[in-house]
Structure formats: structure tokens, C-alpha cells
Symmetry: C2
Subunit: 356 residues, 2 copies
Amino acid sequence: ADVKKIAVLGGDGIGPEVVGEALKVLKKTEELFGYQFETEHGLFGGIAIDEKGTPLPQETLEICQKADAVLLGAVGGPKWDNNSKELRPETGLLGIRKALGLFSNIRPANVFDCLKEASTLKPEVLEGTDLIVVRELTGGIYFGEKFRRETANGEEAVDTCAYNVQEVERIVRQAFEIAQTRRKKLASVDKANVLETSRLWREVVNRIAPEYPDVELEHVLVDNCAMQLLRRPSSFDVIVTENMFGDILSDEAAMLTGSIGMLSSASLGEGSFGLYEPVHGSAPDIAGQGISNPIATILSVALMFRLTFGYHEAAQRIEDAVKSVLDAGHRTGDIAVDKSKAIGTSAMGDLIVAAM
Amino acid sequence: ADVKKIAVLGGDGIGPEVVGEALKVLKKTEELFGYQFETEHGLFGGIAIDEKGTPLPQETLEICQKADAVLLGAVGGPKWDNNSKELRPETGLLGIRKALGLFSNIRPANVFDCLKEASTLKPEVLEGTDLIVVRELTGGIYFGEKFRRETANGEEAVDTCAYNVQEVERIVRQAFEIAQTRRKKLASVDKANVLETSRLWREVVNRIAPEYPDVELEHVLVDNCAMQLLRRPSSFDVIVTENMFGDILSDEAAMLTGSIGMLSSASLGEGSFGLYEPVHGSAPDIAGQGISNPIATILSVALMFRLTFGYHEAAQRIEDAVKSVLDAGHRTGDIAVDKSKAIGTSAMGDLIVAAM
Ligand SMILES: CC(C)[C@H](C(=O)O)[C@@H](O)C(=O)O
Ligand SMILES: CC(C)[C@H](C(=O)O)[C@@H](O)C(=O)O
């Protein structure tokens, strides 16, 4: 039988509890569709710092490398915030992206009908918003040389932002291909009026664009994009951009949907391997209370099914189950209008499993 | 008599026409308050490229250097978009900032009552929004070394982002001081979990914060700030950040107010000298039709009066006049609900002068 191996990294805060619900859903698909999954758990993030002295232990990395996909909860929390760089959860996140060659971060930002009112944007502006930010994930200023040096004006810190043609080309091609499966519009975001890396980026985009004649391309400056996301969110289909800009814009896009507790993301490399995680963080303030919203993580499983395993029917089943539970009015505290009627993490997971 | 010298750079697109209206207002304050201004015009931006072969001619720079303040319209347009770097209007903008030592960009983002409905945010979210982004303007990745080199993966482009202690300290002190004159809240925005320059930035902020015990300080990561601006815009008072982040966040903040046609900005250096300009661009699509909105540029004069000349009474007079004209229902096309009732650029200028 075709056994799929999934590395499971619960991480910190609400990470383990939301991942727990996602695993219930995974199990249910074994029953319903005859799939077989082998899950192996690894320590990652703050908990790995506490137990192993490093946010990304070698054995965790090996579990991921042997797997077909990784399901990640969330990492971080105030406990580790003042640690030195090597002992911070984020360092594990950057390390795992690089070590697994996950150069592409796919972040869909769409609006759940029943959560429209949760957005701070006017409903008529939000109407029809359904975009994907494709963010370069292993290059740019995140991974360039960093150092300090003495100057006449006191200590100086330096970060280096670098991109080569191959790094730009692979992510831009992926974005064009995603656009081809959607509304066929691509916005390439850069700061070509200031940055050399952006000028290279734009050259590469313009060079390969003719190979995707069915996709309508626009170049948008990053500052303008931050504005246009607010002014006309529904006009965007696929946005492709470099690492730092993608970090900022994907969070802006996620927030404007009002559905941040519901959004999942994928980090992909060359093959079908991928790491899947909710967009939201580890929410240490509500961890362990059983009140967190597992939907983004459950939808991350659906995304994994689509992008890594090609299990489209099961993915659809999960997405439909989430929709029907929401349509029936069930809400966790973060998305409930009437907080007194909110249900807990595992009740939400169970309802979704039942609806499948 | 105390004659103030103002360098006037109309620039491109609607720049000259909106500056023309601001000059009417300036003149009116001479009458009303007995001030004396000496204005000298300089070529800048695209028009300077066309007439002098460079976006920032030496004589324009000298006019600015001899002046007490600079009033700038806007630069840029499709005509120069594909020029090489040295022949682009933006290069003039970066050049003038550096040459005049304008290390601080002050961008107020507040909501005009009568334009609340123009925002894409819900009115109840926007209510009370009144923030200032203090952006570092002559350092960081904008001005660091840039180059290309060959690698095994094709050509590589490199940008360098550097900040030294002195550069961070002077902008952060200015932000603390501005916060002291307002609601006494400062959000310092960085990406300290990834960037070395951000770690230096945060160290400097933390070191000098005790000197401003009356100001409540929070550190906000840039991605989170992009979200929080959407979620709770009214909770921000002063935001201070480095050049690239400030470019993005100040545009996001301006757009969310819905009042972008009304916002002015100041770029300051060590002394009282400053460059004042509207936040909006050169709008080449409507240039020369006499329909642009001069209010942001007129309010830039008020900002100049406050920050460079200490002419607070006259500044207030200008601001009140703008408010009364708007309250009376007069609108240019960009802010009119009923476009058929919109008035032109110079009619708006005249009404504001009359209201003074
Ligand atoms: C935690 C941090 C290093 C990370 C990033 O900036 O990439 C996070 O913000 C994200 O978007 O996944
Ligand atoms: C035109 C461009 C170089 C400039 C910048 O990025 O600083 C503009 O966006 C601004 O904010 O004044």
C-alpha cells in the first residue's frame, strides 16, 4: 500500500492542540478514503530549545527529511523572546526552510463568507477577495551575510540582500503556473526604483513572462502594493514577491480578510514535498485552555492533500466539512460574535470530523 | 525684516498646479500676518531631466541650500519610467534627501471627518485614528552599496542595508520628542527576529528609552505592524522605523485613512530646515486639466509654518480654512461623492484663501 509519511511538529503555545485536531481529520480520511499515513512527531521551536538546547534538533530535521510532508503547528512565545539568536524559535523556522529547500511560501488570503463581518474592511470592498501571495522564502535579506563593525559614528550593523537569476526564476515560474490555474493575473511586487535586487527581479519576470502569454502581468511597487491591497483587494489574483516584502504583504493580506484564524499556508521546494502550517501564531496567551481555533491547521491538511499528495477529493471533503460546520453556526472564541456560545478546540475538531 | 526664503520645486504632473495654489495661500499669510517670503523656483524631477539632463541640477540644489525651507510638488511619470537609474525622477528625490541631510520623514496619517466614508475601513475602526509615521530617510537599504556579480546560478544582484548607532539614535530621539508633544505613545517597528540592523535598532531604542519615561514604548515587528495598522489604527500615536519599512507602512497608514489626497509630509534634518510635500504622487493621468486636489500641498505649507518657522497661528488659520471649506461641502473630483459637483484646483485654492 502507498503509505505516506508525515512529520508532525506541534511546536509551542497552541501549536500542539491545533495539530491534535488536524490529526483527527487526517485519521478520518484514512477511514473514508483508505489512505495510509505514518506520522512521526518531532520537537521543534521553543520546546526543542527547552528539551534539546536547539530549536531545530538534528533528529527533527531527519524526521522531516524522511517524510513526504510536514505538518507544523506554531512556534515561539515570550519565554524565548530574549534569548540569543541561536536559542530562538524563529531561528529554527529559518533553519528548517533552508535545510529542506523550501523556497516558496504560498499564502492564500480568501474571505470566509461567515467571517466577512470580522474584517475591519467594508464588506463591499472585501467582496470577492481571493488572492494568493507567493513569497520567496530562502533568499534575500533573511539569509544574506549579517555582521557588525565599528565606525566613526558608533557600531554599525549590516544586512545583505542578494538574489541570483535562478532563485528569482524558480519562484516566479511557480507563481505564473499558479496564476494559470486561477484567474490568470499576476502582480510582481518589487522596489525597482530603488533596489538592485528588484531590478534583477523585474528583468527576470519580464524575460520569462512571454512564456505565459495567458497570464496578465503587472509590476507593482511594494509601497503601492501595500496601498492597493487596502483599496482594491479583490482585484488581485496571485502576488509574487521576495522574502521580506512577502512577509509584510502576506500578513497585511491575511489580516484584511478578517479570517486570519482560518488561513493555512504551504512552503514548497522543488518536488512535491511541502511543509504546511496555519498562518496564525502560537498565541501563548490562550495556550492550554482548549479554546484555540483548529480550523487553519485542519485546512493545512487539505492544502497538503492538494499540493503534495494530489488527494483532491479528500481535500474538498475537508474544506466542505469546515464550511458546513461554520454555516451551522459553530464558532471558537476567536471568531464568535457571541463569546458565551463559543465552543472549544476539540469540540470544533470533532464537529468537522463528524461533518466529513 | 525677517524674510524667509522658500525654494519651490513644482516638479512633474500635477505638481506645478497644486504648488501654485499653495503659493496663493502663502501670499495670503503675508497679507494677514505681515510675513515676508522670498520664493525661488527650481527645476526638479522629470522636467529637470528633460531640460537639464539630470533630475537634480546643481543650481536647484543650490537654491534649496540657500533656502530656509523647500516646498515640493511631486515628481515622476510614465515618460521617464524606463530611463536608466541616473535619468529617473526618483533618483533626484533620493539625491535631494541625501544632499540636504533630510534624515527624517514625518508623515501624519489622520482622518478628515468629512472623508471618513472615503476609507475602505469601517468607520468605527477608523474612529480616532491620528498617527504619525517617523521614517528614517537617508540610511538603510536605500543608500547602501548595490552591485551585480556573476555566480554559478546566473547573475546576482546585491543591496546592502546598514545602520550605525548615530543614525538610529537621532531619528529615534526625534520620534520620542514628537511623541512627548502628542499622546505619548511610541511604536518602534523592526524585524529584530531576523535582521542585524533591526537588532541594533532595538538596542538603541531600549538604551535611550529611559530618558523619555513619560513615553510608553512598544516594539512591533514589521509584519505584525502591517496587520495591527488594519486591526487597530487608532491605537497608534507615533511609529518610528527604518527607511524601507517606513516607505511601506507610511503608505499603508495613509491609504487606510481614506484621506490620501489630503495628507502632507515633512522631511527634516538637524536644524529647522525642512522639505515639505504632499504624500500623493504626480498623478500624470490628470495633470494639466486643472482638476487636481491642492489641499495636501496647502497643508504642507501649514506643516512648514509649524515645523520650520514656528508660525503656529498662521498654520492653524490655514488648517481651519481648509476645514471650513470642506465642511461647506466643496470638493475636488478625487474626494467628491457627486463628481458632477466637483470644483477645480484653482477654485479650491481660492476658496481656502477666502476662508482665511
Ligand atoms: C518568525 C519569522 C522569522 C517569520 C518570517 O519572518 O518569515 C514569520 O513572520 C513568518 O512569516 O513565517
Ligand atoms: C519614489 C520613491 C523613491 C520614494 C521612496 O521610496 O522613498 C517614494 O515612494 C516615497 O515614499 O517618497
